[in-house]
Symmetry: C2
Subunit: 324 residues, 2 copies
């Protein structure tokens, strides 16, 4: 079982590799090698019982996808993307990285021939949905993205479905909830504050809330997101038929509920580190985002998210801060 | 008012130009010129009070879209496509013509600068939907195409929405019902038989029905389709907001009802010209197609289709066979 992870330098990529390394198997098969790919050099691979190879490059550049597919990995996790804020600021870069690179990857797999048909697990996003929408978005609701990022992800989903239907590979696209609490430094994602207001105060640092605290959103912990990726790689795709895109479960809660959970878990002094300086650009982008889902299909397939935001904070404290 | 028609050599393109030539205006403004563009040479332009220019080329080839946009048309009708059967047979050609050429056109408009912001009317298709679906598909139902053609059209819709949202042009995408009765010779579209079984017998020729006669489908006459295009060019897009794709009204009827209408209008001897040799490929493709819609949004915007299949046959007899 040879596994490739595109976007291996990102937060989810690193966590996925750590879990695969620890378990040593996927879908009941021993892992023989992992290939890491990213545009930036990831930290050195951790010690493992199998080789972990690293390629650094831009998947949208000529010859890059060929390099990655030459070793014919059995499972490809494609997690790489330019985040929403950046794709909105830089139109061409967003389309190049979030659409063209994905399509090139799919094309190289299609053209590789010799009966090669890998499993492809692709991270899409709830940003494929745009307001107005119902209180809870069902599995058959239409995609009307209000960002270029959401547009690019929706197009990738369509391509993945068509390439899978035609038998070029065996794909699954996952509409990830916003991953919260994101560890590390703030990134350019407009959704960053959902994590910032928890992570920074827990480390004794200030954080700004740029929107009203009645903003409702849809979350999963990093640990839960990795579990989704592994389950998607192990799923019997015959159960999916021609509909290879899954809206995943998450926890729907308001920013006020996030802050209350933080107060319960970490106390009032920690909560006081949150400032409230509005940012109209962020508020406008977020107002078009979905707040709640009814993901019956993924639930029936066994995907599960956290039940409370306190649980999400505890996962962060356990996995990132070493609190047991 | 300078108008460009991409796919001007096709059936809808030719009929659209004939109507524009006859009326001499669009959206209340006098037409100063029409530019026709297609991959094959259309018949010579009819006499008109304004110039009708013709470009022959492949829109997906370098420099072609630039040539078309250089004259900065005010309205662009983009009707060009490889039909569903051909896009399913030739994967690369389908993506090149139905996706890449459209994206190139959008890109050239975006890059043209100088405040140029044309109206773009794009013909999408009900093939963006794939079974299973409800008895009547509503305006918020998700797109799960079961053909590469439907995938390409769904992607084009997403691009048109994003480019319009970002202000690069003012787009409207129309999900056309199957246009019936198509005049002329049979083409490679899997939907061709819906027209063949009416048009050919009416001209004293045999025609084959490759599916069961309980197959239900969604139709509009060519005259009705042209009316949709003109209305879309004239619509105030502020009414559409960020959702620039419209599922259009049509007539839902079974093949049996089509044949009964033909019997009423043209008699039993004409109906006897229909043979019934099943074609499994066509039957499989058609079984994934939608049968009926509830297009509230387009209806509320004033779009209308025929109310009976007899009306659709009469439009054919009037417009194509000169029967009054």
């Amino acid at each position: 079982m040879h596994i490739s992870v595109i976007g291996a330098g990102g937060m989810l990529g690193a966590k996925l590799i750590a879990r695969l390394r620890k378990e040593g198997k996927l879908a009941g098969k021993a892992i023989s090698a992992i290939t890491r790919y990213d545009a930036v050099i990831p930290p050195p691979p951790p010690a493992s019982t199998f080789p972990i190879n690293t390629f650094v490059g831009d998947l949208s550049a000529p010859g890059e996808a060929e390099k990655l597919i030459a070793s014919k990995p059995d499972v490809i996790f494609h997690l790489a993307a330019i985040v929403s804020g950046e794709a909105e600021k830089d139109f061409e870069k967003g389309y190049r990285i979030n659409l063209d690179a994905t399509r090139i990857l799919f094309e190289i797999i299609r053209k590789s021939g010799g009966g090669y048909k890998p499993k492809v697990v692709f991270t899409s996003s709830i940003a494929v949905f745009g307001a107005p929408f119902p209180e809870a978005i069902g599995d058959e609701f239409f995609t009307t993205p209000l960002t270029s990022y959401g547009t690019q992800k929706a197009i990738d989903e369509l391509l993945l479905n068509d390439y899978s239907r035609r038998g070029f590979f065996d794909g699954v696209a996952l509409r990830m909830p916003t991953v919260c609490v994101r560890p590390g430094k703030p990134n350019l994602a407009a959704s960053g504050f959902f994590s910032n207001i928890i992570r920074e105060p827990l480390s004794g640092k200030p954080a700004n809330l740029p929107v009203n605290d009645d903003v409702r959103h849809w979350h999963v912990s990093p640990r839960g997101a990795i579990q989704f990726l592994v389950q998607a790689a192990e799923i019997d795709t015959a159960k999916l038929g021609a509909r290879r895109t899954l809206t995943l479960p998450g926890l729907s809660c308001t920013v006020a509920e996030q802050i209350e959970a933080l107060r319960k878990v970490a106390g009032n002094d920690v909560v006081k580190l949150i400032s409230r300086e509005p940012d109209e650009t962020v508020a406008r982008i977020v107002s078009g985002w979905p707040r709640n889902f009814d993901p019956q299909r993924a639930l029936s397939l066994g995907f599960k998210a956290e039940k409370s935001f306190e649980d999400i904070i505890r996962v962060h404290m356990e996995d990132e801060l070493g609190v047991r």
